[in-house]
Symmetry: C2
Subunit: 422 residues, 2 copies
């Protein structure tokens, strides 16, 4: 560890760190406008160092110098510097089996336009990619942003993703999506950095920022309870499939093979000596088969509780909310099953806070209240369980957040010469 740290102390790395620090400080200031002295105080850097960093940021259009209105002092006006949120733009894209959601944002993270396109049943990989292209074009048009002004694009998709190679390795819910070089195709088209990640991994980034209550850009993030533990947030996607996104100390935790958080495959289906279940053709895991949206629909049908058409389970939760005894019993069963699997994850990670997203989470408190009750007897320490406030926008919002990081990396990397071999 120390060996790595030492390599990070050379003058060119320091210069890049200073640019990043000044940029972060400026973006964190109310109105994104500040004086050099303010930025020096915020960053702990000397005024000449701040000025050097600002000059570099000005050269690439990210900041502009202005005269402070109304603060004129004896002699000349105090010079201010302003972050130019409109110097460039980013796109965050949620590519799912049912719809594609594109958001266009400026460099402050403000979403200027979004567009959701429906994926028709049976759409395969290449058709999906064409839909992504057209949805991105539509959203950029709506935001009045030429595609050439996109500084970075981040995409999220279900399945296991090789981020380095920009490929989807396993995506049972979208036909012929795995193996398609979607990132390479987007890069060739857009000529900017493009990344792909598991959708829940991106959604949890957005949930983490949202949940802190510190506004849109809480630099530093949420402090862990008591200050002694690890800062961990888990987002559970609870729909037909069940998966989780994990953020540890502000960084996505993906595991050794990008397969962390696969709660849907935990096996609680039988007694202590039961065999491992066989994998069905649709690749659903044991926990998904036990308590995913389809399983809830089946349990409700079997019990004679209300359900809607096309496997809609909203009527079940509405009936439970209204006090229907059969529906309440089914919800109780669902909550008990879900809590047992979630408890396994909580016992391993002790995250302190869990956000539940996905279609099932729209049931809200009628479902989450019994989940919390069942968790009490199955966990060792308290945990906060809440429904996602971002809902179906979480993946695209997390993608925007990640695209902003990509854009910033590109900018600050421009100030650092290539590392020479020792």
């Amino acid at each position: 560890m120390k060996g790595q740290k030492s390599a990070a102390t050379g003058p060119h790395v320091l210069r890049r760190m200073n640019v990043e620090a000044v940029l972060a400080a400026l973006r964190g200031v109310e109105g994104r406008t500040a004086r050099v002295a303010d930025l020096a105080a915020l960053t702990g850097l000397s005024r000449p160092a701040v000025t050097r960093a600002l000059t570099e940021l000005k050269d690439c259009g990210l900041v502009e110098f202005t005269s402070a209105a109304g603060t004129q002092q004896l002699g000349r006006p105090a010079q201010q510097v302003r972050f130019r949120a409109g110097a460039g733009y980013v796109a965050g894209i949620d590519i799912g089996p049912h719809s594609v959601l594109v958001m266009i944002a400026d460099l402050s993270g403000k979403v200027l336009a979004s567009h959701r396109a429906t994926v028709h049943p049976g759409t395969a990989g290449p058709g999906l990619f064409a839909l992504v292209r057209s949805a991105l074009t539509t959203a950029a048009d709506a935001a009045d942003v030429p595609l050439a002004q996109l500084w970075a694009v981040s995409t999220g998709t279900p399945g296991i993703v090789d981020r380095e190679r920009g490929e989807v390795l396993l995506a049972p819910s979208i036909r012929d999506w795995a193996g398609l070089p979607a990132v390479a195709l987007l890069r060739d088209w857009l000529h900017c950095p493009v990344s792909i990640d598991n959708d829940v991994n991106l959604a949890v980034l957005a949930e983490r920022l949202h949940g802190t209550g510190e506004g849109p850009e809480p630099e530093g993030g949420a402090a862990p309870a008591g200050g002694t533990g690890s800062d961990c947030l888990v987002l559970v996607h609870w729909g037909r499939r069940i998966g989780t996104g994990i953020v540890i100390d502000g960084r996505p935790y993906r595991g050794n093979s990008a397969a962390a958080g696969e709660l849907g495959f935990i096996d609680l289906a039988c007694g202590p000596d039961g065999p491992a279940g066989s994998r069905p053709a649709d690749g659903m895991g044991p926990f998904e088969q036990l308590v995913g949206a389809d399983a809830i629909h089946r349990l409700a049908l079997e019990a004679g509780a209300p359900v809607g058409e096309a496997k809609d389970i909203a009527p079940l939760f509405a009936a439970a909310r209204a006090g229907d005894a059969t529906a309440v019993a089914v919800v109780e069963q669902v909550a008990a099953r879900f809590a047992r699997g979630l408890a396994a994850l909580l016992l391993v990670l002790d995250p302190g806070r869990v956000v539940i997203g996905g279609g099932v989470s729209r049931a809200g408190e009628v479902l989450l209240r019994p989940v919390r009750r069942h968790l009490e007897s199955r966990t060792l320490v308290p945990v906060t369980v809440e429904a996602s406030a971002l809902g179906e926008r979480a993946v695209a919002l997390g993608a925007v957040r990640h695209a902003l990081e990509l854009a910033e990396e590109r900018v600050t990397a421009a100030f650092a010469p290539k590392e020479s071999a020792p």
Copy 2:
């Protein structure tokens, strides 16, 4: 995050980082002896910066300047600098329900002496603390190290630990141990930094360094497979109790309430809709009741497989190794149960590598082979499962490692002035 980074670029922080970098580089060099030019190349720092750092390290006795023997050049001998491993000492202590193991090491991490004291059944907190004191005194005497020369002491103990307050919050296996201010008492006695941590959290630090095959001090640690994933190692303690220590990117992962890795409480005891089991008086979790050492002993007894006195399960594994059909069947059942619970942890963390320690792991391959086979059908990506090579020394070795960090922090902190308020 950027806001924090910016605060780390002031000149005093840089000075401390340089001292740390030079110290780490010097400790990593063969023979722990190097020239200023070597250290400049290794750290990427300028020669004047290296010399400044070395002067500070010399002032506190950590390095000494020597003339390089046999390398005399025209004129004067090339000056070398040597890390003084004997400038101070540390102690690592494993405080368990059955024994206390103390190791005394020099600042290079070399263990000079160790002493194991037996904890008599029924020993309560205060008696255990007295035993720790006497074992530490005995080990230090054996190493010829006066207690006043201990720079730091790290202790590991079962249970959930509040590291900040230095207290054990929950330790079902040792009577009256929770709540005892052991760390404060040790600090008052020794006048040096003393820490306490969960024992498996320390053991995993030692396993991680051992497993890399890069010698005793692999700075930088093991690279994750493929370079794209997270670097995560899990150590499972499999004895009467079952717990895990987790290291992510080189740092212990403890969770929000220091309760991460509690595999022993995962509930696989019943079918999908079974109730949560009641907690027995000894605080054993559902998975511990299912497949801990006591459960294995009971399963063997019930099946008529060989066991020894005092719940010794070694005869079971010996018989299985010799091909006894009944013993093989019991081991198969144990492996299947264990794999099902371990799979839950693997699906959440995707660690790539798992080390199995604790008494049950001494069974070796006759047990681990079927565990691996059962994991195959229950996990999504490959994982390496191996028995601990450090065995019962792992906790104390990990404590030594952590004590070295504490000692180094104390040294380098001495070079950094107190942070002033902005």
